[in-house]
């Protein structure tokens, strides 16, 4: 008898709890679905999202701080320095290794490498993941202009100095002339470093 009553109790319990479950499921039947229709509508990406990197190349000074901070050395950068201006050769970030930890962003002294809100990066070929962050190779136009101007200034200054020194050497007395030339030598490098 007890077996039969147990059996009936089991059946009743099952039906009862199933009904409770179905009630909850049914409650959601008429609600608006939460699915995001991805390619058409997109979830808002917060500002702090750690997505694909981008680089403000004009600010970068090729100090290698980000490359050193990276736990897996996925940043490779190389540039040639012309006076104050940089000629970029390469700045790549390897997404085959990168783990989006943001440790490269904070050591930057010029605050020029950032993580953007772009997240979808797919490819048929994994070598494409060796991502080039440079927006231009070589030198920027402004930098080139600045460099040429600086060069010109430098040249002009050197010429002026040479002319002055020659004139002084020619006109003034020998012992006084040497002292003035010394001060001119000290002034010259400071002028070079202010091309703007």
């Amino acid at each position: 008898m007890k077996v039969a009553s147990n059996y009936i109790k089991n059946v009743v319990d099952t039906l009862k709890t199933t009904f409770v479950g179905m009630k909850i499921t049914g409650k959601y039947l008429l609600q608006k679905p939460i699915t995001v229709q991805y390619p058409d509508e997109r979830l808002p990406i917060p500002n702090r999202y750690r997505g694909i990197h981008y680089l403000e190349q004009e600010k970068c000074i090729n100090c290698l701080a980000c490359a050193r901070a990276c736990p897996i050395d996925c940043i490779e950068m190389d540039a040639v320095r012309h006076g104050k201006e940089l000629e970029w050769i390469t700045f790549t970030l390897d997404y085959q290794k990168c783990m989006f930890c943001e440790l490269c962003v904070y050591p930057c002294p010029k605050d020029c490498i950032h993580m953007g809100t772009e997240y979808a990066f797919v490819s048929y070929d994994r070598s494409e993941f060796n991502h080039d962050l440079l927006s231009y190779k070589g030198m920027a136009r402004e930098a080139k202009v600045r460099m040429i101007e600086a060069d010109k200034k430098k040249q002009a200054k050197a010429e002026a100095k040479a002319a002055k020194a020659a004139a002084e050497a020619a006109s003034a007395a020998a012992d006084e002339g040497a002292a003035t030339a010394g001060t001119a030598d000290e002034d010259a490098p400071e002028d070079d470093t202010a091309p703007e």
Binding site: P33, I34, T35, V36, Q37, Y38, P39, R42, L43, I52, P71, I72, D73, D94, Y95, Q96, K97, C98, M99, F100, Y119, A120, F121, V122, S123, Y124, D125, R126, F129
Partner: protein
């Protein structure tokens, strides 16, 4: 087949058949439940309500490789697992596709340098069709990868099958 192959190349009928077959294939890519590591959680998220992968016809996660078309390698592959992956891939019926999800499956990821047991890229074991970057990628990125795969299937030809290299 050599003679027939030439006959059917630029035919209106074959292009239509191609289109139809490709359309059938790309709208029902059944992936295999094959979660390895962290990326598997995002793969589960793709299957859930927010990013419902069923909208692309790829929501029927199969437990058996015999019923699956797509292997999403979601996570780090190490040497012990690599031979199992190879075996699972061999068990899948053709045409079969592989998505390498995340940095670890793509090229070793964060374990590239000191991971002595980590395979540096699952393409050393099985051929990969689409790579998805991220560690782990957002669910949307995986959907993007799936769409890229569908694009690839759409552009392939059934009659002129490209030689696959294992």
């Amino acid at each position: 087949m050599g003679f027939l192959e030439k006959q059917f190349q630029e035919n209106v009928l074959t292009t239509k058949v191609d289109w139809l077959l490709n359309w059938c294939r790309l709208s029902s890519i059944w992936p295999m439940t094959f979660g390895l590591a962290c990326c598997a959680i995002e793969m589960m998220a793709v299957g859930c309500a927010h990013h419902d992968i069923d909208r692309f016809g790829a929501g029927a996660f199969r437990a058996s490789p015999r019923q699956a078309d797509l292997m999403i390698v979601a996570g780090t592959v190490n040497f012990k697992m690599a031979e199992r992956i190879k075996r699972l891939y061999d068990q899948m019926p053709s045409p079969k596709y592989v998505i390498a999800m995340g940095a670890c499956a793509t090229g070793g990821g964060p374990y590239y340098k000191f991971g002595y047991t980590v395979v540096k890229g699952v393409d050393r074991v099985v051929p990969v069709d689409v790579y998805v970057a991220g560690c782990p990628p957002r669910p949307e990125a995986l959907l993007e990868g799936l769409m890229k795969l569908q694009e690839k299937i759409q552009n392939s030809s059934v009659i002129r099958r490209p030689a696959r290299t294992a």
